[in-house]
């Protein structure tokens, strides 16, 4: 394996931070988040996973789509596309899997989402293998692994004296140019794995659409949006025009899209007031069906990477692995 010392890695990251936006896990007032860092010293290396996934870096909570300038009957539109290259360091394999799942929707399924695609093309992912799985992690049950290098450009794994470095893609290769690596015999240590959770077959879902189970589980659901917003693959959004300060005496607006979640009460409510998913049981069911049935049917990739964030942050213990266990059991 190729190995870089801690100091060597830090120096390389510091030089990267001079050229591009460097995003990495950082302690923000006691909350671990992927955030831009000015130097490698700000990076936290020992963690299970940040509270939010890296989807923010591609699909930000608020994104401007257009700027609209209106002067009486005259309208001008400006397309606002994201610029600038970013390198994200310390990406967990489950998060990288999440980006892959978003790629299948935003890029691989026509039409391409211009904004997402632009950010994706301008980003290099440097992964960091997990030494062990967190308490709520189940990536191995949904086709991933704590040291899975498939979805990153460069993979790091902690070894004695530094990090083992693996260039996975050409983009990763290019990024590594100039980093002094040492050939060391051996392999990074294998991560410690959790007991797997049974993954129900895709076909197991539709027959259980009408089960009482959903309503029972949703009874304690608060219809907040934590699960969707911490999720590496949830990508529902809302679009609206909002006012900007006037410009040259003309009204100015921006068309924005913002995160939204199918668990929210008004998610499907239409202007006339009709809400086909007024019950929280219907909404929670939709979320789980989307993860394991709808999304795979629609774009061909599963929408759960086993990161366990929704389990960790749900205030009322709605546990996706409990759903998987249940489905596996009733469909056996």
């Amino acid at each position: 394996m190729k190995v870089v010392s801690r100091d060597g890695l830090a120096a390389w990251l510091d030089s990267l931070a001079q050229q591009k936006t460097l995003v990495a896990p950082r302690d923000v007032d006691g909350v671990l988040l992927y955030r831009p860092v000015a130097s490698s010293a700000e990076i936290v290396w020992d963690y299970t996973r940040p509270v939010l996934s890296i989807k923010e870096a591609f699909f930000p909570a608020t994104e401007r789509l257009l700027v609209i300038e209106k002067n009486q009957q005259r309208v001008e539109l400006q397309e606002t596309l994201p610029e600038g290259e970013q390198v994200i360091v310390g990406v967990r394999p489950c998060d990288a899997r999440g980006v892959k799942a978003l790629d299948t929707l935003f890029i691989e399924t026509e039409p391409v989402d211009t904004y997402y695609a632009r950010r994706r093309a301008n980003t290099t992912l440097v992964g960091l293998a997990c030494k062990e799985m967190g308490e709520t992690c189940f990536c191995t049950s949904v086709g991933g692994a704590p040291d899975d290098p498939r979805d990153v450009d460069v993979m790091l794994a902690e070894v004695e004296g530094g990090y083992a470095v693996q260039a996975v893609t050409e983009k990763g290769e290019a990024l590594l140019a100039g980093l002094a690596l040492q050939d060391v015999p051996g392999e990074p240590p294998k991560p410690v794995l959790n007991e797997p959770v049974p993954l129900p077959e895709t076909e197991a879902w539709p027959p259980h659409f009408d089960d009482q189970f959903w309503e029972d589980m949703a009874e304690r659901c608060l219809s907040c949006r934590i699960c969707a917003y911490v999720c590496p693959t949830c990508r529902c959004f809302d679009v609206r025009d909002e006012a900007l300060p006037a410009h040259n005496g003309h009204n100015r607006y921006e068309r924005i899209r913002c995160w939204d979640s199918c668990t929210g009460e008004v998610y499907r409510r239409i202007a006339g007031g009709h809400n086909p998913r007024a019950d929280k049981g219907q909404r929670l069911r939709n979320r789980f069906f989307c993860k394991f049935y709808y999304y795979p049917q629609q774009v061909g990739s599963a929408a759960c990477t086993g990161c366990g964030r929704c389990i960790d942050s749900c205030p009322v213990n709605i546990d996706i692995t409990e759903v998987m266990h249940h489905l596996a059991e009733v469909s056996r």
């Binding site: 257009l66 209106k70 539109l77 929707l105 679009v239």
Partner: protein, 281 residues
């Protein structure tokens, strides 16, 4: 599909309102002339497709296209004032600029309908996306069999496209039935639910196609009535609507089971969505 660089699915074309006409209380018909190359994109849209119309500053909302390209380049939309976008549109007049993004979604398989009798059932503003179906049939009258139009609304004043009823009635092999929930003094047609009218007219399912659009509850019960009349799910088509924000399969909102109304629809046969209708209500 954009006025900007041609690839951004979220960027609209600009268009000028050339027609703004009151059709009913709170319902207006808007005619849009596209600018900046939008015409090419809309040269060959099909009955059943929809588009997002922007009232810049308020936002955009999806509407079934109520016109047919064979009748000219002006795109028409029937808009009921309900939310912020439609309220803003209702404030606008001829000459004002709107945005149009589309055409989106699938369409009625008009070719497959050729030679068949058609029963078209429209409820309220839901009649709007069915107008291009009627126009296509009337403009190519010999290609289709008997045409039965069932048009329903809550009140006579809420019936849409009233000034076209004469031309529908006078077309060969075509009948028009009207019904309202609450008649007014001069009302000479049926009174009651569209399903009651449907039972009374009782069209034969033989070599026939049923096409429905209206409020979810109406679609649900109309389907049951069509089934009772002997129409199979494969013979029964609907066009559905849902809250949506992109129209291109990204925003996730308009799913009906694993179907996305914006991409897999809005036109469905009941064979595709019949078992999902309960969750549409």
């Amino acid at each position: 599909m954009t006025s900007l660089n041609g690839s951004n699915g979220m960027a609209p074309y600009l268009g000028k309102l050339v027609v703004v006409k009151d059709m009913a209380p709170e319902i207006k018909l808007f005619g849009v002339e596209l600018l900046n190359g939008g015409n090419a994109r809309f040269a060959d849209y099909k009955p059943g497709q929809f588009a997002f119309v922007s009232a810049f500053g308020a936002g955009e909302a999806p509407f079934g296209i109520a016109s047919s390209p064979q009748r000219g380049e002006v795109l028409e939309f029937a808009v009921q004032r309900l939310g912020s976008v439609t309220t803003e549109l209702h404030e606008m007049g001829e000459g004002d600029t709107v945005g149009v993004r589309g055409p989106l979604g699938n369409h009625f398989p008009m070719d497959a309908f050729k030679g068949k009798d058609l029963v078209v059932l429209g409820g309220g503003i839901g009649g709007a996306p069915l107008r291009p179906v009627l126009q296509t049939v009337l403009d190519n009258r010999a290609d289709y069999g008997h045409l039965t139009i069932l048009w329903a609304a809550r009140h006579p004043s809420l019936l849409i496209f009233r000034d076209e009823y004469e031309s529908w009635r006078s077309a060969p092999d075509t009948e028009l039935h009207l019904t309202v929930d609450e008649p007014d003094a001069g009302w000479e047609h049926d009174v009651g639910l569209s399903t009651t009218l449907l039972e009374k007219v009782a069209p034969s399912p033989k070599d026939a196609i049923a096409i429905t659009c209206g409020p979810p509850v109406m679609i649900y019960y109309a389907d049951k009535t069509f089934q009772a009349l002997g129409f199979t799910p494969e013979q029964s088509y609907v066009t559905l609507e849902a809250r949506m924000h992109c129209g291109i399969g990204k925003c996730g909102r308009c799913n009906l089971g694993d179907k996305l109304i914006c991409m897999d629809g809005p036109v469905f046969s009941m064979a595709e969505v019949g078992n999902l209708m309960e969750s549409f209500l």
